[in-house]
């Protein structure tokens, strides 16, 4: 191993997208409701209440285990993790400790050198989410804090990887692959607020390991790790030691900060949960039928739609995106796929990210129409982008949404192609206004032609096709010469 090799392992907590909580019948659909409205004696931890395991959550977790080739353990069990915290209603979390649901398995990610790489998994287990504290003011100086138990008891799956990743980027890719697979399995909704939490272990070879807690976004993982690599390398460069410690990621500042050492001295006093029986579900594995997963879909996109490897990777990287692409091209897969793949993967995603928009907001039919306009050469690429931006902004601002064709008409973006008369006028103007460029062209300087085409584009506000302009100008200048 090279010196200062980065070594990363992740512990990923995802909320399982079940209808009811892990140990009671309360609904998990709490995000649009007031605090403490989705609660009962069980998830409030009222004295005398007892947990009843939600079978669906175990089935969901087993889908994940099967998809990642994990071994489901013959007898697993729940344990209590004991610690005091105001958001923890029972003062213990029901989780799995020495007998997790599944062990082993792996994920394939695209490694830094663009080869596929296996990241081994240690284990997968199921546990309950605690409640949530809302600080009045900030955590240190606020007057008081309020507790919302709506989240208490939401099922979580914890997926622990081996320290197999070698860069923050690989960690990000691991996470993306994990998210995509969980979504394809229908057990996870990455767009729900607070549905993901990551703890990352990072070390430089030969140095102590640092645990970073409290990462709640996909980008955050890469950022936190990148910060930590720099911090640790700087320490070593200055001849200092990296301390073995737990650090918190501060999302807003993009930095990690040492946690108080007291928090590391937790003794969770795990012991088997006496109110739940051991779980014997190994025999379920054979009955779980997995849907098409990201890798298979990627290969299918290449074979069926002729997508490039990169486009196929991007398009299958999220369930919504992949579904969106397929809906877009459904009317004419052969004719639309290549152009639609390029537009969705290279342009649309960027525009959505820029606006922090979900692809859900968009109707795939509108993109089909846009792609058709482009394919028929009715608008230029530049106009295509403009139409797309108008559409997205209308969605974002909750304005009435126009169809792409209507936007083209309203903004007069239709290509000038066919309107030969108008184009003739423009070209004539450009030639007469730029005698020097015409001379240069005649003298054999090719740059001059590009200049003239650019001037003509300006006059048509980008609506003309550069190729057509080029041809027509050459034609015209040839004529002048004659």
């Amino acid at each position: 191993m090279t010196e200062n090799q980065v070594i990363v392992g992740l512990e990923v907590h995802c909320q399982l997208d079940t209808k009811s909580k892990l140990f009671c019948g309360c609904s998990t659909d709490y995000r649009s409701d007031g605090p403490n409205t989705h609660v009962c004696p069980v998830c409030l931890g009222l004295p005398g209440s007892m947990p009843v395991l939600n079978k669906k959550a175990i089935e969901y977790a087993m889908r994940v285990a099967k998809a990642f080739n994990c071994t489901v353990i013959r007898e697993s069990e729940f344990s209590r993790k004991n610690y005091f915290y105001p958001d923890l209603d029972k003062a213990y979390q029901i989780t799995q400790y020495d007998k997790p649901l599944a062990e082993g398995g792996y994920l394939e990610i695209e490694a830094d050198e663009a080869r596929e790489k296996r990241v081994q998994l240690t284990r997968i287990h199921v546990e309950e989410d605690p409640g949530r504290l809302v600080h009045m003011g900030n955590a240190e100086r606020g007057k008081y804090s309020l507790v919302d138990y709506n989240r208490a008891g939401i099922p979580l799956i914890e997926i622990v990887s081996e320290p197999d990743m070698r860069s923050p980027k690989e960690a990000r890719k691991f996470l993306n692959k994990l998210r995509a697979t969980l979504e394809y399995l229908g057990v996870f909704d990455s767009e729900k607020e607070g549905s993901l939490r990551v703890d990352a272990n990072i070390s430089l070879s030969g140095s102590e390991r640092v645990e970073i807690k409290n990462i709640t976004s996909y980008k955050g993982v890469e950022k936190a790790l990148t910060f930590e690599v720099t911090r640790q390398k700087n320490l070593l460069r200055r001849g200092l030691k990296v301390d073995r410690e737990t650090r918190h990621y501060l999302e807003a500042q993009g930095i990690t900060q040492s946690s108080r050492s007291k928090e590391q001295e937790h003794d969770y006093r795990y012991f088997p949960e006496p109110d739940l029986r051991p779980i014997h579900v190994q025999s379920w594995v054979k009955d779980i039928i997995l849907p098409e997963l990201p890798d298979a879909r990627r290969e299918r996109f290449i074979a069926q739609y002729g997508c490039s490897l990169n486009h196929a990777r991007t398009l299958t990287g999220g369930l919504r995106l992949a579904n969106f692409f397929e809906k877009t091209v459904t009317s004419d897969p052969k004719g639309l796929s290549t152009l639609a793949a390029t537009w969705i993967a290279d342009t649309l995603i960027g525009e959505l990210n820029y606006r922090s928009m979900s692809i859900d907001a968009l109707d795939p039919d509108s993109i089909t129409v846009l792609v058709l306009l482009l394919k028929r050469d009715a608008i230029t690429d530049k106009s295509g982008i403009e139409v797309l931006r108008v559409m997205l902004d209308q969605h974002l601002n909750k304005q009435p949404c126009e169809a792409p064709q209507a936007i083209v008409t309203r903004l007069n973006l239709a290509k000038t192609a066919g309107d030969t008369g108008a184009l003739e006028v423009v070209i004539q103007e450009v030639i007469s206004e730029n005698p020097k460029a015409v001379d240069d062209y005649n003298a054999g300087r090719n740059g001059a032609l590009n200049f003239l085409v650019g001037q003509a584009m300006k006059k048509t506000r980008g609506r003309s096709d550069p190729g057509e302009l080029n041809r027509k100008i050459v034609e015209k200048l040839g004529n002048t010469e004659v």
């Binding site: 004295p47 005398g48 007892m50 009843v52 029972k90 795990y270 109110d275 029986r277």
Partner: protein, 434 residues
Amino acid sequence: MAEHRIVFEPEDRYHAFLTVCKNATYGSGTLAGIAVAVKDNISTKGIETTCASKILKGYIPPYDAHVVSLLKQSGAAIAGKTNMDEFGMGTTTENSAFGPTLNPCDPTRVPGGSSGGSAAAVAAGMVQMALGTDTGGSIRCPAAFCGIVGLKPTYGRVSRYGLIAYANSLEQIGPMAKNVADVSRLMQVIAGYDCRDTTSYDHPYTQTPDADITGLKIGIPQEYFGAGVDPKVAAVVKNAIARLEELGATTVPCSIPSMEYALAAYYVICTSEASSNLARFDGVRYGHAADTKKSWHDAFREVRRAGFGTEVRRRIMLGTFALSSGYYGKYYAKAQIARENVKKDVTRILSEVDVIAGPTMPTIAFKLGEKSDPLSMYLSDILTVPANLAGIPAISVPCGMVNQMPVGLQIMGRSFEDERVVDVAYAYEQAVKQ
């Protein structure tokens, strides 16, 4: 369904009750109009439920325990909530934060515990039946000390949903009454599967007691008549067993060698579970409110220090220690092994005999304040904890007197053969009545 009321205003000379429901309603059913007292660690909707602890003073559960729902469905009137050792931790009911209950047979003595209030309420004739809970003898001990009948059912036979947990893996709710027939009637109502307690089994109890015990084989473990057992108590119990022989039973001497470690294992397990169960009492949701001006850590500590009594704090500390990293293997894990050994011994014996018989308690009821050191109090549980460790049914039935105080005969049976231990107790009770 027509709703009726009883006026329940007993003179509570022995401090059996923490809450009295003066106007208890009742419906129709097998227990129509019968006043049933409920131990104060069983949740009752709208009725304060404190576990005899200051930390839960003022806590009014928003839901009924499963057994309470069943009582109401069968027409019983919930007469009130009975006194107990705080959270069930004790053998005398002196550990109540609201003062001890007195033994109706001799008010200078304890009623036993931890279901002392329920036993006293029945013994004093204030109610016909009561619910107790038994973690290590808490139904059988006060039944023996107060001269009534008490059954600890097979683990899982009665739903624990709504029972404020002390030691989940050991405890069961069970019936208490003056006679075996009433214990059996109450058991019919409360037994059965409950989807909210996944450790409960689908084993309803439909038995009407049958006094015919011809051919019954009774195991007599030597440990139940050895050191620590008052010879006068042992003699009374031996007489009772001789009576069972006269009724057609045969006796077989046997031994439970694992009893040597049973008590230690029991106290490690129950305190470990308790340390976790009682951690939720932090002043955030109910009970004493935490001081929001302090850091949560300080506020929790203050609430818990002020709210829990000495014995509860002691057991939380013991359990916390037993589960700590580095000690788990030495204590909790070892205790589980000892527990398995007790199960094995009991299973072996019960494959050769039908029931095991012996004294319920090694002595008669103590004088108030007599057991001042915790260890000697713990030792008095030695004859009752094996049934809890093994999960088997066990009943205590009055079988005579020593120094004008009642003595209990304990009958233990195979898992889910609660009917059989009830039959044996019934056979004895009917024989001595004639």
